[in-house]
Symmetry: C2
Subunit: 221 residues, 2 copies
DNA sequence: CTCAGAATGTACGGAATAGTTAGTTTAGTC
DNA sequence: GACTAAACTAACTATTCCGTACATTCTGAG
């Protein structure tokens, strides 16, 4: 359209081609959009627009909208597990290790709303995409191992009660930490409380830790 | 198109006009569809088709898709509160009253997946529609009253520990009972457990009750 | 340098979908 | 039994939105 000759034109921002960066850019943008609007609510055109790339590239790399969603989901889980792996509970006494795990989970969920929302969205879809993913399956089962060891140590030291399992504990911790983020909107509105203030979060965090510990300790604090 | 004269034709199923029934029919169908597919995922045409009525009627009564969704949300909350009101905790000892409330909540949520899913969906939308609804606001705050009385009685009898509030208790009970339904799909898949079997549900129910009681009781059972 | 294949831009097609227009039927009222 | 407003139907429209066809540019290998 313009009359600058091919030879003489100033270079268009000179994007060095890098497929991997393009992919990651798309996934990052898509994660925000899917987390914000859900699978059907998110718009491919909108995602493309917010990308440094184009819609064409989304289809080139991810096939279709669902393929992109799946890639986002996998990336989200991958990040979580990577973070969790940093946690080192082996050198702590059982009670402290458990406390730390709960606090860590609470803090992590609280500051990663996008992940929580993606899991909510995935549950709305009955876990259909998670079922389709091989990589996610592998990532997660291992995550329970460390908790299992903590619980066993607690049993041996005689500080934890019998009758629970690592899965039970994980379920309980997850439930409390997840709900804090997932249902904050409706809960806050119905009971006219602000659950996102620093103060309210600190109180909730304390309650969650206490609840988990009281449930697993042989005698109360 | 056909040649049966107006006067002589066999009557089409002779629907007796009843606006209220039509509305309720639409709401019931829409509740299933919205709970299943979300706000953006649900299709107005699909809802209309499954109705005894038509798409035009949806717009006639509810204005637009969002109006219909709001009506569904209000109806869902209304039903829940109606059911809850049947619960009579006043004549029970505090511990038994609390146990009963937890069991009731667990059972209710478990058998009303549509409601849970609507709340999840509403949270995905940051509670925007709930905020818009006046009727829901009124329904809910009162629900905490009964729990408050139970807790106070427990304190007076010296069986409950201090430092909690009815809101705290409600939050905890909700979290555990809600998560059981809301995250069953992903949780089951990741840890290869079936959490919807009768046996698994009974175990979970027991754990939830125990967890709430251990948290509030002064001394463990 | 050349060539193949990967990466990217542009513009468009076509299905799906929310919402509407214009009219018809019914039920109650005087 | 004529009139009116509410209840209802069928067909249509405008737009949104996923996905693609086609052309082009870049990059690394030989």
């Amino acid at each position: 359209m313009n009359d600058i000759s091919k030879a003489g034109r100033t270079r268009p921002p000179r994007k060095p081609r890098s497929p991997e960066a393009t992919k990651q850019d798309i996934i990052a943008v898509a994660m925000r959009e899917f987390a914000q609007n859900g699978l059907s609510g998110a718009r491919v055109d909108e995602i493309a627009a917010k990308t440094g790339s184009s819609k064409r590239m989304i289809y080139y790399y991810f096939g279709d909208k669902e393929g992109l969603y799946l890639a986002v989901l996998e990336e989200a889980y991958r990040k979580v597990r990577t973070t969790e792996a940093q946690l080192d509970l082996e050198h702590l006494r059982p009670v402290e290790a458990l406390r730390r795990l709960v606090e860590f989970t609470f803090d992590h969920h609280t500051s990663n709303e996008a992940f929580i929302r993606l899991v909510m969205i995935e549950n709305i879809h009955h876990g259909a995409y998670l079922a389709r993913s091989k990589t996610i399956q592998e990532l997660n089962v291992s995550a329970i191992g460390e908790l299992e060891r903590v619980y066993q140590r607690g049993l041996q030291e005689g500080v934890f009660r019998k009758g629970l399992s690592a899965i039970d504990l994980h379920w309980q911790i997850s439930a409390l930490c997840f709900f804090n983020v997932s249902n904050r909107a409706t809960f806050s509105q119905i009971f006219r409380v602000d659950l996102s203030s620093r103060k309210a979060l600190a109180a909730l965090r304390g309650h969650v830790v206490e609840m988990v510990l009281r449930n697993v300790l042989k005698s109360p604090a």
